[in-house]
């Protein structure tokens, strides 16, 4: 814990962390200092002049808060007339050439310029001449669309490409009122994190071609979630909305800050993976090719399991710990084999040294912790023996490493519990639709051993059943996620002290199982 200091804001005493810049330090205690260019991931740049405050200790009358560390006894002035004037004047400057096209701007509703105008300005424009014309709808690459006229030149995007991705595609060219963000001709954005620029742009200058004009942001319900695109487990906001007479749909993922896991950003692939939650979903229950009601499907499921000589259950490495535990329990109940074989979700060489991991499964560590065998050899051997394969949403053909398995798989009767309609599941005798990760909650462990909790975000009109619920309908004892934990705690030493509801927001870093476990 950093040392706390007392300082005064407009004469009122507050306790804040020492050494943090004033913007961040005061934000913690609910005091806003307006700013455009400062971003905690990119550092203080000091170019926008919006965060100028007064410090009553003999220094110049205005100092940028982003570059001023909080110190004991500091007297910070935020509401003095000269501070209000500078905020007002900076905003007027930013707005001189701004198109003020909020009604057609995607950023409206979450726009810093709009919010600050309402809070600090509310003035009419004094501009009597034509505004400067600049580029509109410019395709900067990677799905980033740029409007130079809306830009406030805070250079967050430029700094992002230089400091974070180190690809440096963007620059601010020209000077004075002709200055604008641009790419070097023929060198568009070309990195796997480019859409973060849309998140960090404080105004509507950077928009995503994927999200543009799809939904007004004030309609979106912003729930916290965890990306299941790879084993990093980046924290995200799941922005979804149920339009009148329609279903609850996800419109975008955005990065959510978690300094222990993903920092401030997410990769583009993960960001756009929300499409998979909306599309190609398995909604019908099928038995032997015919569409039936869900209950009937479960009934058929039970009876096939009962009559099977040697069933084999296959888990997905995307399942939550609770789901895995529940499936493990019913595998016991039915005397079934259990495998977590999912090598297909590893794409060697696809990862990088930042966020993207080779392993595209969200909870492979969970399989390991619960002692579920995931080797190809044992899966193949078990499959040879088995007369029924129950596949819990494991896409064995996520990559093409399992093509030789096809004849063997085709020769076995299969029950597929699946969230998405995939080739692999088409031939299944019974297809039971199930929820995907935005529609259930649970805990997962990322590749670095950080245990994270996430909650159900989306509720479909015809809300699919979670795998956990399906195991319950098959006669399992785990009726909800909480009920799984006594068993998990008992059988996994490293999780023995975990209370899922008490997992901190930034996740719980698990001790390696080789080391002696110290209770938290």
């Amino acid at each position: 814990m950093a040392e706390m200091v007392k300082l005064f804001v407009n004469g009122q005493e507050v306790a804040v962390e020492q050494g943090k810049n004033l913007i961040d330090a005061l934000k913690v205690v609910g005091i806003e200092i307006p700013h455009f260019c400062y971003h905690p991931a990119l550092g203080a740049d000091g170019n926008c002049r919006m965060c100028l405050v007064g410090i009553e200790d003999g220094r110049p009358p205005l100092v940028p808060a982003c570059k001023t560390p909080a110190m004991e006894g500091m007297k910070v002035l935020l509401d003095a007339e000269h501070i209000k004037k500078i905020q007002h004047d900076v905003l007027e400057l930013e707005l001189i050439n701004h198109p003020i096209d909020c009604p057609v701007c995607d950023q409206a509703g979450e726009c810093t310029l709009q919010d600050y105008y309402m809070t600090y300005s509310l003035d009419d424009s004094r501009r009597g001449v034509e505004p400067v014309k600049k580029g509109k709808r410019m395709d900067l690459g990677c799905g980033v669309v740029h409007d130079q006229e809306r830009c406030v030149l805070c250079a967050r995007c430029v700094r992002f490409t230089r400091q974070i991705t180190r690809t440096g595609e963007l620059g601010i060219v020209n000077r004075s009122d002709e200055a604008r963000v641009a790419i070097f001709p023929g060198k568009p954005l070309d990195n796997r994190y480019a859409l973060n620029i849309v998140d960090i742009c404080p105004v509507g200058a950077m928009t995503s071609s994927d999200f543009r004009f799809r939904q007004r942001v004030w309609f979106l319900k912003k729930d916290e979630g965890i990306c299941h695109g790879c084993s990093k487990g980046c924290n995200i906001y799941i922005d979804h909305h149920r339009e009148k007479y329609k279903d609850d749909m996800i419109y975008r993922f955005r990065a959510r800050t978690n300094l222990q896991v993903n920092g401030y950003f997410i990769c583009d692939e993960g960001r756009l993976s929300y499409h998979r939650e909306n599309e190609n979903r398995q909604s019908q229950t099928r038995v032997d090719g015919g569409v039936v009601g869900f209950e009937e499907g479960i009934k058929a499921f039970r009876s096939r399991l009962d009559t099977a000589r040697k069933p084999l259950m296959l888990l997905s490495a995307d399942c939550t710990l609770e789901q895995m535990w529940a499936v493990k329990r019913i595998a016991n109940l039915y005397g079934a084999g259990l495998s977590g074989y999912s090598d297909a979700s590893v794409l060697p060489g696809d990862g990088d040294d930042y966020l993207i991991q080779d392993d595209k499964a969200a909870n492979r560590k969970g399989l390991e912790l619960l002692g579920i065998d995931s080797s190809k050899e044992s899966f193949m051997a078990a499959l040879q023996d088995a007369d029924l394969l129950v596949n819990f949403n494991n896409d064995l053909f996520f990559s093409n490493i399992n093509d030789e398995l096809r004849p063997l798989l085709d020769s076995k009767e299969c029950i597929a519990v699946c969230s998405h309609a995939r080739k692999l599941f088409e031939k299944a005798a019974i297809i039971i639709p199930t929820a995907s990760y935005s529609e259930y909650g649970g805990t997962i462990v990322n590749g670095d051993g950080v245990l994270q909790l996430f909650r159900k975000a989306v509720t479909k009109n015809d809300d699919p059943h979670d795998i956990l619920e399906i195991t319950r309908l098959l006669g399992g004892a785990i009726v909800d996620a909480a009920r799984a934990w006594p068993g998990i705690r008992q059988s996994v030493a490293v999780l023995s002290a975990v209370q899922p509801e008490q997992i901190p927001a930034e996740g719980l870093k698990l001790q390696s199982s080789e080391e002696p476990h110290v209770g938290s």
Binding site: V158, T161, G171, V173, S176, E178, A182, P185, K187
Partner: protein
């Protein structure tokens, strides 16, 4: 100010000639940070070709080991870098306060009439180009004209006519 971000590509790669190459290697040892060499390198390009094309910006970025966008920023920020071809003789007329008050417009108008070029243009025969620039720091002897890098103070149309007559 005007938009200078429309670079011209000549369609063939740029490289320094032997003399500039040696000069580049000599200068870069002066700077602990290689990126500090961007501006001197842009000058070398301009010395060699008279102006800076898109290919030259890529070349400098690669040679220094930085992003083309960074070189692009500097080349467009400083109006002294020519981003399109100039005439054999480049005339800069100062348009800032002192020169403005001391009738720089007479000089600009003279050039329009006599040679047929306005600021930003090159004469048809490629001999002259004209540019209006910000303060050249010779306010005491305004108006000032910079011809091929040399200053000519207290100018008027007559003096300029005599000066231009000496050029080939």
């Amino acid at each position: 100010m005007s938009d200078r971000s429309e670079l011209i590509a000549v369609g063939k790669p740029f490289s320094f000639d032997a003399e500039r190459d040696a000069e580049f290697e000599r200068l870069i040892t002066r700077y602990p940070i290689r990126e500090s060499m961007i501006m001197p390198a842009l000058w070398l390009v301009q010395e060699q070709d008279g102006w800076i094309c898109a290919e030259a910006i890529s070349y400098i970025a690669e040679r220094i080991g930085t992003y083309p966008a960074k070189v692009f920023e500097l080349a467009t920020f400083y109006t002294m870098y020519h981003l399109k071809p100039v005439g054999r003789h480049h005339i800069c007329v100062c348009r800032t306060l002192s020169c403005y008050l001391r009738d720089k417009q007479e000089i600009v108008d003279y050039l329009a009439e006599e040679i047929g070029i306005r600021p930003g243009q090159v004469s048809e025969d490629g001999k002259f180009s004209l540019e209006e620039v910000e303060c050249l720091g010779h306010c005491g002897t305004a108006p000032v004209v910079q011809l091929d890098g040399e200053f000519h103070e207290a100018m008027d149309a007559k003096k300029l006519k005599a000066l231009l007559a000496t050029l080939d």
